[in-house]
Symmetry: C2
Subunit: 135 residues, 2 copies
DNA sequence: CCAAGCGTATAGTCTCAGTAATACACATAT
DNA sequence: ATATGTGTATTACTGAGACTATACGCTTGG
């Protein structure tokens, strides 16, 4: 469900926060949806449970998640169910900045980058089809 | 010359290392080119000089830079002057991964992302023309 | 009821990133 | 020769990130 890279330099709890925010904005985590348990996520990613809990707590403080004692955390019911296209594109801004900076420093052309982007996107498609078993 | 973001979560010295590596691979820092002084960079980015020095030392250990006592650091003369297109695209891999993951979680289409990418690229073009004074 | 599953609280430890203040060795231009 | 500019070494301190270990209160299914 999530992809956490412990060697990216970005703190794990921040990676998780960002991904949950995006999946809520993108509608893949609708209001009321239950999040994976702290312990499950910790085992799956070989990470300490408190690291996951820290991320969840931050998201609750932001009003994105709701806490139910003894029950899994859920996506808050109040907030904007899904962000508009422009807001979601906005959320991609920093990632785009990083990519453009890197590509320009590597002296690549937009055409080359876009081609590589399409290929990676299709590779991700294939990966999802494999995992879900869909044909 | 470089863009360092102290709030990205990625350590500053790592950001600098990555950018120097890319600009060498991309040919924008040719063999023998002198790098900005540790003190200048530190002032420009409001960072401690030792943080810059740390990055330079790591790059020297990698063989990318050469040290000349009392003189600026330079790009090593020996190494591959410029990486091939496929190698440079490869260096963009992790950035592409991050972008695709973010975009998919935001439920964006490749078309939307590519459009935003082109716009950001052109904005960077404009910024460079403004700084260099070219018309 | 009670075990199992939730998230949480607390406290201690460890590593690394970044800062700070000096001091040094070398090169170069004046 | 001297001032100025390189990068570097040293030591010490602060803070964040992550881990470890234990315990607690809550809910739900048997």
């Amino acid at each position: 469900m999530f992809q956490l890279n412990p060697h990216s330099g970005v703190p794990i709890y921040r990676q998780l926060c960002e991904q949950v925010r995006r999946m809520i904005a993108g509608g893949q985590l609708p209001a009321g949806a239950a999040l994976p348990s702290v312990r499950d996520l910790a085992i799956e990613h070989a990470v300490n449970p408190m690291t996951i809990s820290k991320a969840y707590s931050l998201l609750e403080a932001e009003g994105l998640l709701e806490r139910h004692r003894g029950r899994p955390m859920t996506v808050a019911s109040r907030p904007r169910l899904q962000a508009g296209p422009s807001q979601r594109l906005n959320a991609l801004n920093s990632e785009l900045d990083r990519l453009v900076l890197a590509a320009r420093q590597l002296d690549l052309t937009p055409t080359e980058v876009i081609k590589a982007l399409r290929e990676k996107w299709e590779a991700a498609d294939a990966g999802i089809r494999r995992r879900t078993g869909s044909r």
